[in-house]
């Protein structure tokens, strides 16, 4: 392929990934990396480098919109970022040590988890809980708007959530993805934070987590400008458009279709990793 062809194809794929990622809440990275490696034969290290950069773009680009809705909790986000950024540094170092076949297999496994969680759908919506002792001392509880009223909520199981966040950060640094799915599990299921607050706070955290791996990726040559340029511009454009149409779209069907695509990509990634094609 010539540079023109490569840039155009990658931009198009990335735009689609960013668009679907925003609509389904899975993020663009989970599709961009398999698309680049499986369809275009790009080395997975360049693919995850470019993906990491696009993760930062969508997180920072969407921040203003999420804040306006009044759901995100900056204290919870900042506190848990201690765990995700440390994990991200560990993950980025692992990425520089691990071979490409192993990376592809781990990526496939994480994709399966993301697809399964997407099939199950996002229930959440439990009744808000009272904070336990540690969460009270950390002042993590807050309130969010529900049908024009203000709903107070508390936070539980801070150590377990913190630990899982370290794992989410490690995955993010290892695979160049936002790992928003794991972050939401940590907050929604374990720390019992309301679902809306969990998802928007997760978006807030994704960019900061990714930035912690970016320096290591950059110095080790994972971020190649010729690959990252079309990926970043494509994913960002697609995500911005996706956020615009999100309000009008019927997401349920789309989510199921997308989950199937992700599952297919996951199996392909694992097979390619085992047979040494990636």
């Amino acid at each position: 392929m010539t540079a023109w062809e490569f840039s155009a194809v990658v931009w198009g794929l990335s735009f689609l990934a960013g668009f679907l990622g925003a609509l389904t809440g899975l993020g663009g990275g989970v599709v961009v990396v398999p698309a680049l490696t499986l369809a275009l034969g790009v080395n997975i290290k360049y693919a995850i480098g470019a993906s990491l950069v696009s993760v930062i773009a969508t997180s920072s680009g969407a921040a203003a919109a999420y804040v306006r809705e009044g759901f995100s909790n900056i204290r919870i986000g900042m506190f848990l970022e201690i765990a995700t950024t440390l994990g991200a540094i560990l993950g980025a170092f692992l990425a520089t040590r691990v071979g490409t076949h192993a990376l592809a297999i781990v990526f496939g496994l994480v994709l399966i988890q993301a697809a399964v969680q997407s099939f199950r759908g996002n229930k959440g919506g439990d009744h808000p809980v009272d904070s336990d002792a540690l969460a009270t001392r950390l002042r993590l509880g807050s309130s969010y708007p529900v049908d024009g009223n203000t709903q107070e909520y508390g936070v539980r199981n801070v150590p377990a959530g913190f630990g899982l966040m370290f794992g989410a950060g490690t995955l993010s640094g290892l695979l160049g993805i936002g790992s928003g799915a794991v972050k939401v599990i940590a907050m929604d299921r374990i720390m019992r934070i309301p679902f809306k607050v969990s998802t928007t706070t997760s978006n807030f955290m994704i960019g900061v987590t990714a930035a912690a791996s970016a320096g290591i990726y950059l110095s080790r040559g994972f971020i190649d400008p010729r690959v990252a340029m079309p990926v970043m511009l494509g994913v960002l454009g697609g995500a911005l458009l996706g956020a615009k149409v999100l309000v009008h779209a019927r997401v349920q069907t789309l989510r199921a279709v997308f989950a199937f695509v992700v599952l297919a990509l996951a199996i392909e990634m694992i097979v390619s990793g085992i047979t040494g094609k990636v």
Binding site: I74, L86, I89, A211, L236
Partner: protein
């Protein structure tokens, strides 16, 4: 200054940062593609060469000479800086609120980020 006002200001600044970064990457991309790229590109093998594009100093040096790949990397650096700026502004915001606990928490996150970015220095 309350949490919400602070977050709205931060959110806006981040959006502007992303737009500037994207414009820089786009400019570098246009330059790269119009400079007669006739050869074939192949990214099958991981060969991290051209190491001047893997450090802050090298990227800035390349970008101020309007080299296309340097400009793209500069845009990506600006992008990486947006979440770092977000944390830095949170440090200031919490300090203004006289919230000692969360000033320290956000300072720790900022230090972790700085420690990581030093690798590319």
């Amino acid at each position: 200054m309350n949490d919400r006002r602070l977050e709205i200001i931060i959110g806006r600044l981040l959006q502007i940062g992303v737009l500037i970064a994207a414009a820089t990457v786009f400019a570098g991309g246009v330059l790269y593609l119009t400079q007669g790229q006739r050869g074939r590109v192949d990214f099958r093998n991981f060969t991290p060469d051209s190491s001047d594009l893997h450090s802050f100093a090298g990227i800035v040096h390349s970008a101020v000479h309007f080299q296309s790949l340097g400009l793209i990397q500069l845009g990506l650096l600006l992008l990486i800086a947006t979440p770092v700026a977000r944390v830095a502004m949170a440090v200031v915001g919490f300090a203004l609120e006289r919230d000692r606990l969360y000033t320290v928490v956000s300072l720790i996150v900022l230090l972790v980020l700085a420690a990581s970015l030093i690798h590319a220095g």
